[in-house]
């Protein structure tokens, strides 16, 4: 017990008590001197008490709680991190509903808390906001405590995207010719009306007139009849003329195909539901062709299971080869990859980086391998040669011909190395058991691949074989066959290591070193690759060469190896079948971008006299070669575009496409595309050429369901919800399309649009009708989430009322889902999605072990691992040899594509070499210009943020001293970059961190939209954004730009306007015909001092 004050005493007041005088007496009486102490004290009151009183210390710490927080998703770059939006207290008088106080990472999400563990999913949002979750660390004692999670600088600056004063505030219609820069505002009703019915003022047709549809079966059976002279061509024309693009070429499909959608995201809703099934148009295009297309396809063709991307299990990887990607600041995304990587390196992982320049990732590398741009295939095959020569490949793994054999070895995947190829057949398909007469046609194993059984030396269906033979060349049943391994091996041995080294510009020793290292860690070595090797016309083959290196060690699905966790929660089905449109259309016909179709197989082949085709076809890629869009429209090849609806988010093609500077001429001519409608947040470089710009809410103001790349160990599903409303008149494009579709009576919107799991039909009148149902699907996926309690429901209501103001209608939101679903929907919304916990009983264990504990690795019931394997697996065959690829032919030459990885030059459509790999080459100008993602910007969309422009005021041109010295260029000098067809001005950054002969700069600069140039709306003109700073001085010397002053929004130069145009096409950059990519790293320039 303690006694703090006399009143607490157990004794009654009047009892005997020692007074101070008694004490003196008692001690005095004894006369005892207590043991004297030799110690001293020095009470220096100066120090203790006369210190200046603290001043200017208040107690306003900006308290906030769950009612001030909305969890949603960042959209500043395409990583889409879960975020925590902290709303500001009541302030200001703008049109906006609420200001944003601060953005941070979402602490519920493991993506934002690396290397620590996220708060348990069931944690009360109030506790999370207050930092009261048990186990989440303590700011004084732990080095990092979990209040908000991590997000990158671009994400931090999202506030300035929402509050960009150059945002489009009302629907706008152009005044004067396209691209005039003059606009007038119109009402939404007017805009919808004009778009549907056409407009005399601008003289454009309306959707109603442009649209036409007919089902494929009916048309094609009639066409069949015409071919067989069973039907009159004139009747056919009469019958289908209003519905088809061209009755002479019905395979082009319905007229609806000439109404084209361009938009990077919201594919579930806009593409699948509205465009494909509502409109019946096959043409809904996203940004793949300009983004990671060839990389994705190179991976897709290297694995039988779904695998688009290469990622390691960073936590347990021992050797990581980062190949032409920059995960510390780009890739998808820095928020979790960077902290995972820095900690893995600290824990002893070796990381080497292959990149022509020293990226932020290469800075942290053990070894930086400055490869010659575009020569990655040579480097990879050189490594493969060393590995094969030194027998460092995992023979055990490679000799498993099928799942059964792999399983016996504890291998989740197996390869096609032992499979036999029919070498004499034109497209070189792999042999099937029935092809070689090993089993009858109707046998279960008829479609099995074939390998030679090592125990018998006989070819057998692979399912029957324990161990296959790798090197095979024989004749079976009269058919010449070779094993894939033999083919691959021959390919690898086409050049010597010295030759590969010469091509790659990397020393033989270095190739041997990394090949050795890569094969010295068993399954715990892996590659992370992305755009660097892929964004050339040989990008597909480069990626194939890199991907197949991992087949050699068979590291798939192994802890510490190559991972493929497409792990999420179901979104489109479950409670509601969101992908289903009652009485919807089925899109068909040749896609505008000519993907997935061989030129030979179309009616145009005959029309145009065979090869070469007028423009490239992409027979083994999906129709997403975005860069071809405008040239195709101009050439009306395969058909013209009547109406273009563009959401420039990730599709600001004028800046994003190599050669995008050719687009304005095409878009500017109304005869080419009669109707162009942009749904945009600002007047961008591309939307500038539209007839209408419709104001979109920014990512902080709208719904979305963004995916996460498969580079995480656990499942997640993100939901974006509106957190604020800055522009009251902005409408998400979904809402606009719903209105348009209703006007046109198209299926999939309005009453009875969405079936639930019972078959009951629900209306679709606004975006939230869709997204709340999607949230319900997420909530009920796997183990349904708990219901939100009273407190949580209140926090939800309060935060949304605070954030959205009048734009929030609780009752309307509730109506979008079933009553019993609402509380679960709130649970998911309050957390910004679903995030799998690393182990069972996580909350309990978290309270015990805290956030600084690697649950996934330390517990047997880990949700990330399954023993030594990943829990979420690829679990499929991996392919050295792709049967699919040679089915495609080059549409200029008619040559088949190569089933194997190969070394290839960078070529124009007509085969002219742009950048040589196989020999020295003879470029017109001496310096190869590469580029990369801006560390401080998310593509172009974030240039509206002065906070970001301050950190790097422009994109200086990196140049090696060896190249700079001869040109008299010093760091910070003003220079011109001459690309032949165009010259730009820039600033030199002289650095040893780039390969001699190569120069480069950040892409993402040189804007002319979004406040970078003057805009006139309703007659009043607003000038461009000027740089900050009150003095005339520029603090832009590269590497010392830390003055915190931004330049204007037009700072720097546009990389893509320096790119070479395709020599044959002349209106866009070069394309990879196999992988579909727009080539972006293949310009040659000369640099001079200004």
């Amino acid at each position: 017990m303690s006694t703090d004050s006399p009143d607490d005493r157990t004794e009654p007041e009047d009892s005997a008590s020692l007074t101070r005088r008694d004490l003196v007496k008692a001690v005095g009486a004894v006369g005892l001197v207590g043991g004297a102490s030799a110690a001293t004290v020095n009470v220096d009151t100066d120090d203790l008490w006369t210190d200046d009183q603290q001043h200017y210390v208040g107690d306003d710490h900006g308290e906030y709680g769950a009612s001030d927080v909305i969890h949603t998703t960042c959209g500043q770059c395409n990583t889409f991190c879960p975020i925590k939006v902290r709303l500001a207290d009541e302030s200001g008088t703008g049109e906006y509903s609420s200001l944003v106080r601060k953005l941070a990472g979402n602490p519920y999400s493991f993506l934002n808390t690396q290397p620590f563990s996220q708060v348990p999913y069931d944690s009360d949002p109030e506790d999370v906001a207050m930092g009261d979750v048990e186990g989440s660390g303590d700011v004084t004692a732990d080095r990092w405590s979990l209040s908000g999670g991590r997000i990158c600088l671009k994400g931090q600056a999202g506030i300035q995207t929402a509050f960009d004063s150059y945002r489009v505030r009302k629907p706008m219609k152009r005044v004067g010719p396209r691209g005039s820069g003059e606009w007038k505002t119109v009402s939404w009703e007017q805009a919808i009306e004009d778009i549907v019915e056409g407009d005399d003022e601008l003289g454009h047709p309306g959707l109603r007139d442009l649209w036409g549809y007919a089902p494929q079966d009916a048309v094609m059976s009639d066409w069949e009849a015409v071919q067989n002279d069973e039907m009159d061509k004139a009747d056919f024309d009469e019958k289908w003329g209003d519905a088809l693009v061209d009755t002479d070429h019905p395979d082009l499909g319905p007229k609806a195909n000439q109404i084209v959608d361009v938009g990077g995201f919201r594919r579930n809703f806009i593409r699948t539901r509205l465009w494909h099934q509502g409109l019946g148009s096959i043409n809904s295009v996203h940004h793949a062709g300009t983004c990671g297309f060839s990389s994705v396809l190179g991976n897709v063709r290297s694995h039988a299971g779904k695998k688009k991307r290469q990622y390691p299990d960073i936590e347990n990887c021992e050797y990581l080869l980062v190949w032409g990607t920059n995960p510390m600041v780009a890739n998808k995304g820095p928020t979790w990859l960077a902290p995972k990587l820095t900690n893995a390196i600290e824990d002893g992982m070796r990381m080497d980086v292959i990149d022509p320049r020293m990226s932020k990732t290469a800075e942290k590398a053990d070894t930086w391998v400055p490869v010659e741009p575009g020569a990655d295939g040579a480097l990879a095959l050189g490594m493969a040669r060393w590995i094969l020569e030194h027998d460092r490949h995992d023979t055990e793994y490679l000799r498993n011909p099928a799942e059964s054999a792999a399983e016996a070895d504890g291998e989740p995947t197996w390869s096609d190395a032992t499979h036999l190829v029919l070498v004499d057949e034109e497209a070189g398909p792999k042999a099937r058991a029935s092809d070689l007469g090993l089993v009858p046609e109707d046998h279960d194993l008829a479609d099995d691949f074939v390998a030679v059984d090592a125990s018998t030396g006989e070819p057998r269906p692979v399912s029957e074989i324990e161990t296959g033979v790798l090197d095979v060349a024989m004749t079976v049943d009269g058919a010449a066959v070779e094993s894939v391994w033999s083919q691959y091996r021959d390919r690898v041995f086409e050049y010597t290591i010295e030759e590969y080294a010469e091509m790659a510009g990397v020393s033989v020793e270095r190739i041997e070193e990394i090949a050795d290292e890569f094969t010295s860690h068993g399954k715990r070595a892996a590659i992370m690759a992305y755009r660097g090797p892929a964004k050339h016309t040989n990008g597909f083959y480069n990626t194939r060469a890199i991907a197949t290196l991992q087949h050699l060690v068979g590291n798939y699905d192994w802890k510490g190896g190559q991972i493929t966790p497409y792990a999420g929660y179901s979104t489109m089905s479950g409670r509601y079948e969101l992908g289903q449109v009652p009485d919807g259309h089925s899109p068909w016909g040749i896609p505008l971008l000519r993907g997935g179709v061989n030129y030979e197989d179309t009616s145009l082949f005959e029309r145009d006299d065979g090869y070469p085709a007028k423009r490239p076809w992409f027979p083994v890629a999906p129709p997403q070669a975005t860069q071809e869009l405008y040239g195709s429209a101009a050439d009306e090849y395969p058909y013209g575009v009547e109406a273009l609806f563009i959401r420039p988010y990730s599709n600001n093609h004028v800046l994003a496409v190599a050669g995008g500077d050719e687009i304005p001429d095409i878009l500017g001519d109304p005869d080419t595309i009669p109707l162009v409608v942009a749904s945009d947040t600002v007047i961008g470089e591309t939307s500038k050429y539209a007839d209408y710009i419709l104001p979109e809410p920014t990512y902080l103001e709208r719904w979305e369901n963004f995916g996460t790349y498969p580079n995480k160990r656990l499942a997640d599903e993100k939901i974006s919800q509106p957190a604020i409303s800055v522009v009251p008149d902005a409408r998400p494009f979904e809402d606009v399309l719903i209105d348009l579709w209703k006007e046109m009576d198209l299926p999939g919107v309005g009453e009875d649009a969405i079936p639930d799991s019972e078959g009951t039909l629900w209306p679709l009148d606004q975006a939230e009708d869709f997204y709340l149902k999607l949230t319900a699907n997420i909530a009920y996926s796997r183990e349904p989430v708990p219901d939100a309690e009273e407190d949580e429901l209140r926090a939800f209501r309060e935060s949304h009322e605070k954030g959205l103001g009048d734009a929030f209608d609780l009752e309307r939101w509730k109506q979008a889902v079933g009553d019993e679903e609402w509380a679960k929907v709130v649970t998911v919304l309050n957390r910004g999605g679903r995030f799998e916990e690393p182990v069972e009983n996580y909350a309990e264990r978290y309270a015990e072990h805290g956030h600084d504990y690697d649950y996934a690795d330390r517990f047997d019931d880990s949700n990330a691992y399954d023993g030594e394997h990943m829990r979420y697996k690829l679990g499929s065959r991996v392919d050295f040899y792709s049967e699919v690829v040679p089915n495609g032919k080059h549409s200029y030459t008619g040559e088949r594509f190569d089933p194997l990885p190969r070394v290839d030059d960078v070529e124009h459509y007509d085969g002219q070499v742009q950048a040589a790999v196989t020999d020295e080459g003879d470029p017109e100008r001496p310096l190869r210009l590469i580029n990369w993602k801006p560390r401080t910007q998310g593509m172009h969309r974030t240039q509206n943020s002065p906070w970001l422009r301050e950190t790097r005021p422009e994109n200086p041109v990196w140049i090696n001293p060896r190249d700079a010295d001869g040109r008299g260029i010093e760091n910070g000098d003003e220079i011109t970059v001459d690309a032949g067809r165009r010259e730009v001005e820039g600033i030199a950054m002289v650095t040893g961190g780039i390969r001699p002969g190569v120069v480069g700069a950040m892409w993402g600069w040189g804007r002319s939209g979004d406040g970078a140039s003057a805009e006139t709306i309703d007659g009043s003109t607003r000038g461009p954004v000027e740089g900050d700073g009150h003095t005339p001085y520029q603090f832009d010397e590269p590497m010392t730009e830390e003055a915190g002053l931004a330049k204007g929004r037009d700072a720097g130069f546009a990389i893509n306007h320096l790119q070479p145009l395709d020599a044959d096409l002349g209106d866009t950059g070069l394309s990879d015909l196999v992988g579909g990519s727009n080539a972006q790293y293949d310009a040659f320039v000369e640099v001079e001092r200004r």
Partner: protein
């Protein structure tokens, strides 16, 4: 030793009315421009300057330390007369004191204008910081000004009393006010004045040397962040160049007022003596600067080397070579190299003005270059040249000083009435 009343004739100021009008017109224009610039400074705040966070101190600070130096220099010259009793200099004693006071007023004007929050200029007297040279300086300035005023008072009171007694009109009434009631014109009262004058002077010397000017040097020298300033010689150089500029100023004032106000012929011996003094100070100043540079170079401290390379060859080199070396040292040295030139008043005025301008450059070269180089490698390099507002406000504030001086010179007995015969 009383003078005869008949010879009492006090009429200071311009002899030539046209000159007076012209002079006031020039000042008026400068004041107008300065006033407008000051309005811009007040409404736009520090945005009106070319200062940045990399280079936070600029023209105003340079002028501030310049005028503090000028004041200290002028004071020391006057003190030579008062304390050490150099009779020859006695004639310009009050002039020097008055100039010292006005210089301090102008210096404080510059400090005030330079404050980010001009409204808080009195805060240093409310809150202090023992370790802050600036905190000490502010107090020292006040004390120093008080000493100067006291000295001027004791130096002038006798004459003021006489003017009050014998003169008439505005001057007489003003003089009466300024005697602060001590109207005696006896020898005893004069002796008292002398005693106190000497005492104030003795108090003033350490104040001027150590606190005011050495202190201003210390202001910079304590900044470890800037090795260029962080040297022991720094305060010394400060004082030497202060004395140099003070000497030059006094010389110029002496010639000008003697010719323009008193209409007398210049005492060429005195002039020569002053010009020799000037030459000595120039040589010492140049020598110290050279030593400082050598020490810096010998230290091989990268920051110092770079600062010096900026001064000598960089973006500021014009200021160093043309103004500091050219106007400050070489030209005046050439001017005083011949005896006949030394005895030519207008040449000495030119030489003096040249030094006065050269020392402005010295001040700029002290203040700016160390702020061009970043304190940490990796931070941006600074750039600085005063903005129009800075130049114009500076001109205005200097004009205020000139105006005050002129008015004083027109109204006060800044030259002893006894015409030098004691």
């Amino acid at each position: 030793m009383a003078t005869e009343q008949s010879r009492f004739d006090f009429d200071p100021g311009f002899l030539d009315d046209r000159l007076r009008v012209a002079w006031y017109a020039v000042l008026g224009v400068l004041l107008l421009i300065g006033g407008y610039a000051m309005w811009l400074r007040l409404t736009q705040g520090m945005r009106s300057t070319n200062l940045t966070s990399t280079t936070p101190w600029g023209a105003w600070v340079a002028f501030y330390i310049y005028f503090v130096g000028l004041s200290a220099g002028a004071f020391l010259v006057s003190t030579l007369a008062n304390v050490f009793g150099i009779e020859k200099l006695h004639r310009i004693d009050r002039d020097a004191l008055f100039a010292a006071i006005i210089s301090m007023v102008v210096a404080l004007l510059f400090v005030w204008t330079d404050l980010g929050r001009m409204d808080r200029m009195f805060y240093p007297f409310v809150w202090r910081q023992l370790t802050s040279p600036l905190s000490w300086e502010v107090h020292a300035y006040v004390a120093y000004i008080l000493v100067l005023v006291a000295e001027l008072y004791f130096s002038m009171r006798y004459d003021l009393a006489r003017i009050a007694e014998h003169g008439s009109g505005l001057r007489s009434r003003l003089s009466a006010l300024l005697t602060l009631g001590r109207r005696a014109t006896t020898d005893a009262s004069r002796a008292t004045d002398r005693t106190w004058l000497k005492r104030a002077g003795i108090l003033g010397i350490p104040l001027a040397i150590f606190l005011v000017h050495g202190g201003t040097g210390v202001l910079f020298a304590v900044s470890k962040a800037r090795p260029y300033w962080n040297s022991g010689l720094f305060p010394v150089i400060f004082i030497v160049s202060a004395v140099l500029s003070g000497t030059a100023l006094v010389m110029v004032l002496y010639v000008l007022r003697t010719r323009l106000f008193d209409g007398e012929s210049v005492d060429r011996d005195l002039l020569e003596r002053l010009s020799v003094l000037l030459a000595v100070f120039i040589i010492v100043d140049a020598a110290l600067t050279a030593i400082e540079a050598l020490i810096a170079v010998a230290s091989l401290h990268p920051h110092e080397l770079e600062t010096w390379s900026i001064i000598l060859f960089g973006e500021m080199s014009w200021s160093f070579w043309w103004f500091m070396v050219g106007f400050g040292w070489v030209f005046p040295l050439v001017m005083v190299s011949k005896r006949s030139w030394r005895r030519t008043p207008w040449l000495m005025v030119v030489a003096g003005l040249s030094v006065v301008i050269g020392i402005v450059a010295v001040r700029f070269n002290i203040v700016v270059p160390p702020q061009i180089l970043p304190v940490m490698e990796g931070l941006p390099h600074g750039s600085y040249f005063p903005s129009a507002v800075e130049w114009a406000t500076s001109a205005g504030m200097i004009a205020v000083g000139l105006l005050l001086y002129t008015i004083g010179a027109e109204l006060l007995p800044l030259t002893p009435l006894d015409r030098g015969d004691n």
